[in-house]
């Protein structure tokens, strides 16, 4: 879950990382006032989660209060990679002598945090790593041994930095390492971290990502930052349909029937589980089908949940039929899903036999499940029909 720049900086401020004066503003008048309070040239930055602000023209410098107000007006409407600005951050423009890069993330291969540091900040770090590898250091560190500043020192030194800069950078980098582990972050980045002409350091831009699974451990921080539980912060905000899917899944704690993602097709998908859903979604598309949604059924959801999920998908405009498909199941009971989807069809005023294009869930309790399906005249198949072919049968029924 990505934080906005102003939220990341609020977190940094709690840990006394060096930050210049700045204010988040929501109107031209506020921008004008912020200029006055900061007193001098400022930078105005659109608050969006996506990158590429600079290129989009959503970062501008102002020399006067009038100019700050003007820039606010021009920045706010700019859509950056499909995302509208939440607000604008006004900060003092600093006299920069040099820019550094520091980031910490998880290396899934080493299974440890990795600290990436460079004295060539401000530009694309991947590019620096290719063209000037001696200016980028990568340092893995332990997640169970006590954190030690010498790791930060070594990382800074390995990028070729020495002297006063090394001694001033070390505690900043060390603090970021602590923040990374303390808040279950998956990314903590400062870029650029600037050395000013007077030798002091300041965080110019930075952002953090918190692991979604760990949100429950950091409720207090999230509350302080005003990040609501409904803010998923995915690549795009959730649709009403997706929010309704989350509510269906929250009805009880039995199994999963949710993780709904909306698409604009005509074939509703009641599919599972994690890997099975990915496989089936691909299969539907390979047959030329147009899914109305992605979803996941897993564990052993109640009849009620499967029913509510079915109803929700059928309530989406343009959904002609449903395909109910999973990989061979071990924990999910076939009969329970069968019962749920049939009840969901009936509750939506649709004939299950007409609506369910195919039911392909082989595995535990399949005989009981198939009996119910036969009773309602629903087409089903067992494991002898592959996931791919089952998807093909469903797509063939829509045209």
């Amino acid at each position: 879950m990505r934080f906005y720049e102003y939220e990341s900086k609020a977190l940094f401020r709690r840990h006394r990382l060096p930050l210049g004066p700045g204010q988040r503003v929501n109107s031209a008048a506020e921008a004008r006032q912020a200029f006055g309070e900061i007193g001098g040239p400022v930078v105005l930055k659109s608050q969006v989660l996506s990158g590429g602000r600079m290129k989009a023209g959503a970062v501008k410098f102002a020399e006067s209060a009038d100019e700050a107000a003007e820039h606010f007006q021009s920045i706010m409407p700019i859509v950056v990679q499909g995302e509208s600005a939440r607000s604008v951050l006004v900060e003092r423009k600093s006299a920069v002598a040099q820019e550094y890069f520091v980031a910490i993330t998880w290396d899934g291969r080493a299974k440890k945090p990795v600290l990436v540091f460079s004295d060539m900040g401000g530009i694309d770090i991947e590019e620096v790593a290719e063209t000037h590898p001696e200016h980028v250091s990568k340092t893995h560190f332990s997640s169970i041994l006590p954190l030690s500043p010498r790791i930060a020192k070594e990382a800074v030194g390995a990028a070729g930095v020495t002297g006063a800069a090394l001694n001033r950078l070390t505690p900043i980098v060390f603090e970021l390492m602590k923040i990374f582990l303390a808040y279950d972050l998956t990314l903590a980045e400062i870029n650029p971290l600037a050395r000013l002409e007077d030798g002091s350091f300041v965080v110019l831009d930075g952002h953090v990502d918190m692991e979604a699974e760990a949100r429950g451990n950091h409720k207090k921080l999230l509350e302080e930052l005003g990040i609501g539980e409904d803010e998923t912060r995915q690549a795009r905000p959730p649709t009403d349909f997706e929010l309704a899917g989350a509510r269906v899944n929250a009805v009880d704690h039995r199994g999963v029937a949710g993780n709904v993602v909306e698409f604009d097709g005509n074939l509703g998908l009641v599919i599972g589980a994690g890997g099975g859903s990915l496989t089936l979604f691909d299969a539907v598309r390979q047959h030329g089908g147009r899914p109305a949604n992605y979803c996941e059924i897993g564990g052993n959801p109640s009849v009620k949940k499967a029913e509510a999920l079915t109803q929700l998908i059928l309530s989406k405009p343009g959904v002609e039929k449903l395909a109910v498909m999973m990989n061979v199941v071990s924990n999910t009971r076939v009969d329970i899903v069968a019962r749920g989807v049939i009840k969901g069809c009936i509750a939506a005023g649709r004939d299950p036999a007409e609506t369910i294009a195919i039911f392909r869930i082989p595995g535990s309790w399949e005989d009981e499940g198939f009996k119910i399906l036969r009773k309602y005249g629903v087409e089903y198949c067992d494991r002898s029909v592959s996931m791919h072919d089952a998807a093909g049968r469903a797509v063939a029924k829509i045209s």
Binding site: D184, E211, G275, L278, M387
Partner: protein, 302 residues
């Protein structure tokens, strides 16, 4: 032969009195597993299908002597501690079933396991099965369902999805290809044991003659596997299936498992497929193509 587990593997279930763990205990016992104890703090003296329950792993060790493995099925916020407890009681194989464990805690579990010379499978996995020998974890479900899908043979299976482990085994079984050991390695961004880390075990297992893997978007595990195969001149033909190809068009969106999100400059499925093919891995377009591709590759080895 098989890898990781056999019918002699002596293991425990941590969190044994939980609803899912109770089912899992029944299913594992029915499949012939040697479960010598279970742990749930405060529940010592009870039993689950005849398996005695203890408060601490230490107490099981005192009664039963050293243990080979543990299946950890406790809520996410107790998972790290349960794994630490297993590791500090000299258990060398820990299967973590629990889902939604934050990455930091997974990394901590894995780091301690490495220090202790132990191995973690999972988290967010269904465990390990060596058909007709034993299983550890929920893989395959009830014993009758498990026997229907899994048969003994020469194919090693590794999968980032628990359910797809069974789908693949079932497809192999239908084609007359049995399995040596199938490992559900887990769907998280950090897992205890990756494909490449299991390869040396399969390589050393005379029973295993080829490998089938199920793969997903996210992470670098396929690149790591490709490198391992090339660096070690592996004797084992590998056939892979890549799911989630549609996600290439949807960077930054998460589908399926916690590990399946393509961020930054990570490999798309198209790039993963390319890397694997360059390393000599055959990539199946559909699950049902896996048996034919395996047979073709096995015929080439002969």
């Amino acid at each position: 032969m098989s890898i990781l587990i056999s019918k002699d593997t002596k293991f425990i279930i941590q969190g044994i009195t939980g609803r899912e763990a109770v089912n899992l205990t029944r299913e594992n016992l029915d499949y012939g597993a040697r479960i010598v104890g279970g742990v749930t703090p405060g529940r010592a003296g009870r039993d689950v299908y005849g398996v005695p329950v203890y408060d601490c792993v230490r107490d099981v060790v005192r009664k039963e002597g050293s243990l080979d493995g543990s299946v950890v099925s406790v809520p996410p916020k107790f998972t790290r501690d349960a794994v630490f407890e297993a590791l500090e009681n000299r258990i060398r194989l820990v299967v973590v079933v629990t889902e939604n464990v934050p990455r930091r805690e997974v990394a901590q579990m894995v780091e301690l396991a490495t220090l202790r010379g132990a191995r973690i499978i999972g988290p967010n996995c269904l465990g390990i099965i060596s058909p007709d020998e034993a299983k550890m974890g929920g893989v395959g479900g009830p014993a009758a369902n498990t026997r229907q899908a899994y048969t003994k043979g020469n194919i090693g299976v590794m999968s980032r999805s628990g359910g797809m482990t069974t789908e693949i085994a079932s497809t192999l079984t239908a084609a007359g290809l049995g399995q040596s050991t199938c490992v559900s390695i887990g769907g998280d961004a950090i897992v205890g044991t990756s494909y490449a880390e299991l390869m040396p075990l399969f390589e050393a297992d005379p029973e295993t003659r080829a490998i089938a893997i199920y793969s997903e978007p996210g992470g670098r595990m396929e690149a790591e596997l490709a490198e391992w195969i090339q660096a070690n001149n592996s004797r084992l033909p590998v056939v892979a299936f890549m799911a989630g190809r549609f996600m290439d068009e949807m960077k930054g969106m998460r589908f399926g498992h916690a590990g399946t999100i393509v961020e930054g400059k990570e490999d798309t499925t198209a790039e993963k497929i390319k890397r694997m093919e360059q390393a000599g891995i055959s990539v199946a377009e559909r699950i049902e193509e896996i048996p034919r591709l395996l047979e073709k590759r096995l015929a080439e080895v002969k």
